[in-house]
Amino acid sequence: MEQADENFDFDSAQPPVQQCIAKDIRQSEEALRQMLLLFPEEKFLGRVPRVVMKHMIYSRIPNRTLVDKEIDELNQTGVIRLFKLGSEEESLAILFMEQYEELIERRCTDSALAKRFIINVLKKIKEISVEKAVLANAGFTETDIKTLINNCLLTVRTSTTYWFVFPGAGEFMKAYTKGRQNIIHLIRKSKYQQILQNELEQRDMRKTVQLGIRYHVHDIIGADLVICVNTTSGNMLRFSN
């Protein structure tokens, strides 16, 4: 015990960092990783990375504010990255940084530019959009920006700002909106506008719903398009108008 006291240096001792939500970051990160496994990567043959929409996590964890705060913290520490796909407020896609960086390096034609982009821009700016002035400060010329746009890493938002985007986003959005519409249409057509989740999963929708039924079930519950009611024969998905 006395030895420990002698070695304890009071000057350089740091107060313990308050990590009251440390346990819960694991919770939504776990939910994220589990949901990513639902994404059928094989179908897209590596053109589209494994991506999950943020509102899909709400179907797993009911406290939405907590999920928002944790996703925000994961974004700030650089574990994941958020992208806005689509015009609604809720259409935020989540991608893990390891995958995103690997995808950039694989798909970008100019690898030196890609490395500069990752180090100077992605590591420093955590938001979903970036201004032209900021890119110029980081040392990117007009031709650099054009190359990045051609490689699907930036998209024009206004005359002075750009959205961050990932390659394969267009294909993902097409499959996603089509699949969601088909499933919602199916539920609306049903008697009493509700269907048991087991019954839904048994239907063969591989042609119309590319991303898989279970993926979309999380998506429509999280987006409040259906209400999930727990019944004795499993979950019942009821359309909420």
Partner: protein
């Protein structure tokens, strides 16, 4: 824990009195449901736009309707019976009173210090200051625009200002002593839909408008607003000049009773919690609050419960959310048409809600109470129902499809 254990803990000092009170209040608010025993006498003949409960005793309920009428009901149960109808004790409508509003009443508010006076404003551009006993307006302030909302500061001692939100782009401040609008706050670029004074700071005012902005003012400041609340907290780069609080009109505002937080509801179906000192969006996710009306609803906050609850009207239902976490606790179903306003009574832990179906419903914590099978009660209960007035003498109570 049951009530007896809680009382024993209180007596032995294991729990302090305020905590005991807030625990009991939370338990009661969690069991709110449509009251089986209490009801408010039907007296409105048009949809109800606004209600207000007086702050002094929580006894008188003031309600304003779309036909310009104003009714006062007494909600205190002094009859000794469980079955109780809140009687109408005052009515100002077009047939009986020539000072009545010409068009719909949009906002009513009791004078914060006593129930001798109340203010009402509406689409006829008038802000009327009524004497509640004589039912005659003591003064009328004419505003340069149709009035959507007005608010009088609940704790002001150094000023007698009423903030008025109207179709004009400015927030008018009417002085009750002089009877005219002395002061205008200019910063909005479109109609102002809602104004609220802070319950703690008597000079702080928040205003929400159709230009999607929510501004905080100090009325003593000479230049312009203190700050505009930004929903992204400065993170989103595109529109730096015009920071918006919502992606739609900001139509309802309310401060929490400690004045530290401000809640705003907008037509983008979102509710946001703001820090009233810094203007920071606290990023609480309440989910979507569907509403069709662009004019705004009056919602209320229960400040005596431990997780404070917000009661928000949404189409035909009232949603109950926890203030700080955003979890939806309950959905109160009962009205036949859009709910426009609700007011929470702290003394009785009941909620009163008014809607376009001309009813004021009472939501009380009644899960455990059962009516006694007492012959005396049955008679009185029967009698109170016959006091409901018929609309016209020739109106039939049944419909005939023979024409």
């Amino acid at each position: 824990m049951n009530d007896v254990d809680a009382i024993c803990n209180l007596k032995t000092g294991l729990i302090d009195a305020r905590k005991f009170r807030s625990n009991q209040a939370t338990k009661r608010v969690s069991t709110l449901c449509l009251s089986n025993f209490q009801e408010v006498e039907n007296s409105h003949s048009a949809g109800i736009n606004t209600i207000d409960l007086d702050k002094v005793e929580g006894r008188y309920l003031l309600s304003g309707g779309a036909d310009g009428s104003i009714h006062i009901h007494d909600v205190l149960n002094l009859s000794g019976n469980l079955q109780f109808t809140c009687k109408n004790v005052g009515k100002i409508d077009r047939q009986s009173n020539r000072y009545c509003h010409k068009y719909s009443v949009e906002c009513v508010q009791w004078y914060p210090l006593d129930t001798g006076m109340f203010l009402s404003s509406g689409m006829d551009k008038h802000l009327k200051i009524w004497d509640a006993n004589a039912q005659i307006p003591a003064d009328v302030v004419i505003i340069n625009g149709k009035i959507y909302h007005h608010h009088m500061s609940p704790n002001a001692t150094q000023h007698n200002l009423v903030a008025v939100a109207s179709t004009a782009n400015q927030v008018f401040l009417a002085d009750l002593r002089s009877g005219s609008t002395t002061h205008e706050l200019r910063c909005h670029s479109s109609s102002v839909l809602s104004v609220k004074w802070s319950p703690m700071q008597e000079f702080q005012l928040a205003s929400g408008s159709m230009d999607n902005r929510l501004l905080m003012w100090d009325v003593r400041a000479s230049r312009s607003c203190l700050f505009s609340m930004d929903q992204d907290n400065g993170r989103n780069h595109a529109n730096v000049e015009k920071t918006t609080a919502h992606n739609g009109y900001v139509h309802s505002l309310s401060f929490t009773s400690d004045g530290l937080f401000l809640i705003s509801v907008g037509t983008d179906s979102r509710m946001r919690l703001w820090n009233s000192e810094t203007g920071r969006n606290e990023m609480i996710n309440y989910g979507k609050i569907l509403m069709e009306s662009k004019k705004g609803t009056r919602f209320d906050i229960s400040s005596d419960t431990d997780p404070q609850m917000v009661f928000v009207p949404s189409q035909g239902n009232i949603l109950v959310y926890e203030l700080t976490t955003g979890i939806k606790r309950a959905t109160l179903l009962g009205h036949y048409n859009t709910v426009t306003c609700c007011a929470y009574n702290e003394n009785l832990h009941t909620l009163y809600s008014g809607s376009n179906d001309r009813n004021i419903l009472v939501w009380a914590p009644e899960a455990a109470e059962k009516i006694r099978e007492d012959p005396v009660n049955k008679e009185v209960g029967f009698g109170s129902r016959s006091l409901m007035p018929r609309r016209t003498l020739t109106e039939d109570a049944w419909s005939s499809d023979e024409g």
